[in-house]
């Protein structure tokens, strides 16, 4: 029974991971792509690690996996924020701003 639940967690997690990857290719600009990557960062990590915890004997390995999850959830937003902040300060415009610039130019 636990095997089946764990498999469901892993498969759904893999699906979200794939979604993030597809989103990175499909989305139009840098900032929206960071959003797509954050799907992989957050929900897919949670699901896959919970699926893996269910497959352990709930011993030290499970605790280690839990710690991996906690540190991933702490560090991955920081990494996304560092990327986005440096892009912003480097002068990269968002999609909306680029469009409004064009409109102003057309007028």
């Amino acid at each position: 029974m636990i095997e089946i639940i764990s498999s469901v967690f892993l498969i759904v997690g893999a699906f979200f991971s794939l979604t993030g990857a597809v989103g990175i290719f499909k989305f139009p600009d840098f900032f929206t792509r960071v959003h797509a990557a954050s799907v992989t960062d957050s929900i897919s990590t949670i699901l896959i690690i919970f699926g893996l915890i269910l497959r352990t004997d709930f011993d030290l390995v499970a605790v280690k996996l839990l710690f991996i999850l906690i540190f991933m959830l702490l560090t991955s937003p920081t990494a996304s924020h560092a990327l986005a902040k440096s892009a912003r300060h480097g002068g990269l415009l968002t999609l909306a701003e680029t469009r409004s610039d064009k409109k102003v130019g057309d007028d």
Binding site: F16, T19, G20, V22, G23, K26, F27, P28, D29, F31, T32, V34, H35, A36, S38, V39, D41, S42, I43, I46, L73, L74, S76, P77, T78, S80, H81, A84, K85, R88, H89, T94, L95, A96, E97
Partner: protein
């Protein structure tokens, strides 16, 4: 003679490091792992699941629905110590991304206007735990 001098230097170095570590050991570390923090974590995980579903729908849906917006939110209400947690929570939920933070505002990039509005309503800012709420 040279080797002896190296030995003395390394012993002195280790003693100095140990002394410093002893001082650090005596400092009181406070880990705010109380009930409100756990409740906030649970609520945040729920939000992560909900907004992930939204972004998933955007990824597999058509590109027309994608309306990225950028906006500023005031962070005066959030106590100073909790601002990192607040910004991290914003980035952790897919669909919203904290780009910049200063003393008054956080700059937020959102995939659609709805998620920006729900942040503006201030659910998350109200729920972020802080030791001295309201006093920043």
């Amino acid at each position: 003679m040279l080797l002896l001098a190296f030995g003395i230097i390394s012993v002195a170095l280790v003693l100095w490091l140990l002394h410093r570590m002893n001082n650090t050991d005596a400092e009181i570390q406070k880990l705010a792992l109380n009930l409100s923090f756990i409740r906030y974590t649970m609520w945040l995980l729920g939000q992560v699941v909900l907004s992930s579903l939204t972004v998933t729908r955007l990824v597999w849906g058509s590109r027309k629905e994608l309306k990225p917006t950028i906006g500023k939110l005031p962070v005066n209400k959030v106590p100073k110590k909790s601002r990192v947690l607040y910004a991290n929570s914003i980035t952790l939920t897919p669909g919203t991304l904290c780009i910049d933070i200063d003393n008054e505002n956080v700059t937020i990039h959102a995939l659609n206007e709805e998620s920006l509005h729900s942040l503006k309503r201030g659910d998350m800012a109200d729920k972020v735990p802080g030791e001295n709420k309201g006093v920043s």
